[in-house]
Amino acid sequence: MRASPILASALALACCTSALRAQAEGVSEAFSDGRYDLALEAADGLSDPVLAAEWRFQVLHAAGDLPGALSAARAGLTLAPTNSRLSQNAANVALALQEGSLALEFCDAWQRALDARASNAGADAESRPAEVERLARYRASARELLALDAQARAATARARNVALALLGGTVLALLALARGARAATLRA
């Protein structure tokens, strides 16, 4: 899995100061060279912790470490709760990990980020409808996973109840027959 050059550039450009930009370019370069180990080290050295979290997410996701990527996104969201890129990424990974409730949690964070941006609309007016549609899709997938969890819980309860009822009935029948057989022997 190689770096996405577009995303790497986007993350590099997201930096506002030239010092930070230089640091981020170091991360981007290591990432593009396939040195994910060095990219992570460089990301940890970024002076902007939110950007560092975004880079950690990007590198770990590319390395196929989904739980690690999710942790990175979570860490970033605690610092920047209205960062829609992080919440979107976290929701995406939570869905890939089949974790419906986590995905829904991140969808809510994403919704809050969208709402916060609505007040100063204009910059993202074009991309907003697509993002809203994507959020709705993620939310629907998360709800499907939650429904599966509920079905699984119901199936477990059903299986446990049926098994215990049949086992109990069989054992009772055994005891009754054993007592009956003993009584008949004593009578004889």
Partner: protein, 528 residues
């Protein structure tokens, strides 16, 4: 006055014994598509059959006191025939009741136990109770027929019943299931029970019961079939077989563009045993087989590179190694596979070429390893039992020591193991045990999967990303090394204590597997 012969009744006792074992062995196979065939499932099936037999013995004992025990014997056999005949038809509906479609077992870990137990009780308890009645009733009939003592009659009935069980065990595994398939195995057993029951019922002039049973059993012969899980759209079934060990099928999945062939076992659990893509070489992210190519690159191999694959499957690792080994390497591969049917499917659908690879099929890897040379450059342990567990006798300290003894100096052992992290119970136990044998080693997490490949080396060190020897310039390196270089992707193996080491004497690998699933769910819910 000359007494009648008890031989027909002894034959009935033997046939019932055979059917009991056949039902028990086939039962696990029948529910495996939903619940797998783990130790828990086997334990549930054996437990339910034993409980049912106990109930049947007492029920039979009560009916034996009736004036016409022969008639009760006939009815028991007819009832057992009926239930057995309809079992394949009921299996899908009953198992889906406890494990609805779309729910993986890792989502509901308790269903491994409760779901398989409930399904086993519903599907097999009634027939096994009826079969349990046969013993005491047959004993009574024998005693009344030839006037023998209880001890004499009991001894003969038990002997015939046990001999029947013995026959049923072997015939089911080696003939009925592989040749007839599951549905017709159950229907054949039902047919035999029906014939015996009908003969007794007719002799006792209970024609109505025999007639009704005939209708119901005949109807089952027409309709009662195990409903196989339908392949999703875009997935084509290439071949389906029953082997002495499992249900195996080869499918081709074209849903994601490039066709991928998968060898699936028992259909369930989302797992596959082998993968095929049209071009030999690396399979891509998510496939652990790719990591088996690394030792040859890390060793700078040239010339002969001798590999033993313990758990050949349909030959995926052969194709990966042949397409992704360094130039100038001449591969010499020995593949060991327990299930010959898997090898047959490998030859037909997965490009396995037995003229090029030395394939040893139908033998256990550990036993066969002892007969092999001791100069392997790489031994790959990729054996799975019952879909989820590395067989305990292949994951013990003693087994790993035997593998080490078969490596050339500097040779590598690579083990595929499923888990959720380096602290996962299965990964940790196997890593610790491996490190005890080799004194060092490194585990690598496979990108975008739940697999880890543990590497250890005889008289050598496994490189880690901070070593210059880890990196090599090649498309294989470009594809594999970046993802392995992040700190969360690798871990040095540390020898575990005596008490935690897996050994032949104490190897709780299947229980560790369950702990692994339970911990993974808990960890994801709260990753902090």
């Amino acid at each position: 006055m000359q007494r009648a012969s008890a031989s027909p009744i002894l034959f009935v006792a033997g046939a019932a014994g055979a059917c009991t074992m056949a039902v028990e062995l086939a039962a696990v196979r029948l529910i495996a598509p939903w619940f797998g065939a783990s130790s828990r499932v086997w334990t549930n099936v054996i437990g339910v059959i034993l409980l049912a037999l106990a109930l049947g013995y007492l029920l039979g004992a009560r009916w034996a006191a009736s004036p016409r025990p022969r008639r009760a014997l006939g009815w028991s056999l007819l009832a057992a025939a009926l239930w057995t005949a309809w079992t394949p038809f009921l299996a899908g509906a009953v198992c889906r009741l406890f494990l609805p479609d779309g729910i993986g077992l890792d989502r509901a870990i308790e269903l491994w136990t409760w779901g398989s137990l409930a399904s086993t009780l519903v599907l097999f308890l009634p027939a096994a109770v009826c079969l349990g009645c046969v013993g005491p009733l047959a004993l009574e009939v024998v005693q009344r027929t030839d006037g023998s003592s209880a001890g004499s009659a009991g001894g003969r009935v038990l002997a015939w019943s046990t001999l029947g069980s013995l026959l049923g065990t072997f015939v089911t595994t080696h003939a009925l299931v592989p040749w007839l398939g599951l549905s017709w195995t159950f229907l054949s057993l039902a047919g035999l029970l029906f014939l015996l029951g009908a003969a007794l019922a007719l002799a006792e002039r209970t024609r109505a019961a025999a007639g009704l049973a005939l209708l119901a059993t005949a109807a089952a012969a027409g309709f009662s079939r195990l409903e196989r899980g339908a392949a999703p759209q875009g997935v084509a079934l290439l071949e389906e077989r029953e082997s002495p060990y499992q249900s195996v099928r080869a499918v081709e999945d074209s849903r994601w563009g490039e066709p991928v062939r998968l060898l699936q076992v028992n259909e369930g659990l989302d797992s596959f045993q082998s993968v095929w893509k049209a071009t030999p070489g690396l399979l891509g992210p998510g496939y652990y087989y790719d990591l088996f190519a690394l030792p040859a690159w890390w060793s700078g191999a040239r010339g002969r590179w001798k590999v033993a694959l313990l758990g050949l499957g349909a030959g995926t690792a052969c194709r990966v190694l042949r397409g992704a080994s360094p130039e100038g390497v001449e591969l010499e591969i020995v593949g060991l596979e327990l299930d010959p049917v898997v090898v047959e499917l490998g030859e037909r659908h997965f490009g396995l070429d037995p003229r090029r690879e030395r394939v040893i099929a139908g033998v256990d890897a550990r036993a066969a390893l002892r007969t092999l040379e001791r100069d392997f450059d790489l031994i790959v342990l990729d054996a799975y039992a019952r879909q989820v567990e590395i067989p305990f006798h292949l994951s013990s300290e003693e087994a790993l020591a035997e593998m080490r003894a078969h490596l050339a100096p500097g040779g590598w052992l690579a083990i595929n193991v499923g888990g959720f992290g380096f602290d996962d119970p299965v990964v940790a136990a196997l890593s610790g045990t491996l490190a005890r044998v080799f004194r060092s080693g490194v585990g690598y997490r496979v990108s975008a999967s739940r697999n880890f490949v543990l590497f250890a080396r005889r008289d050598g060190e496994v490189p880690v990303p901070s070593d210059a020897s880890f990196w090599f310039a090649s498309p294989v390196g470009d594809a594999l090394l970046p993802a392995l270089s992040v700190p969360s992707a690798w871990s040095r193996l540390v020898p575990c204590s005596d008490t935690l080491a897996l050994c032949d004497d104490r190897n709780p690998i299947d229980e560790l597997q369950m702990q692994s699933l339970e911990q993974a769910r808990a960890r994801l819910a709260d990753p902090r």
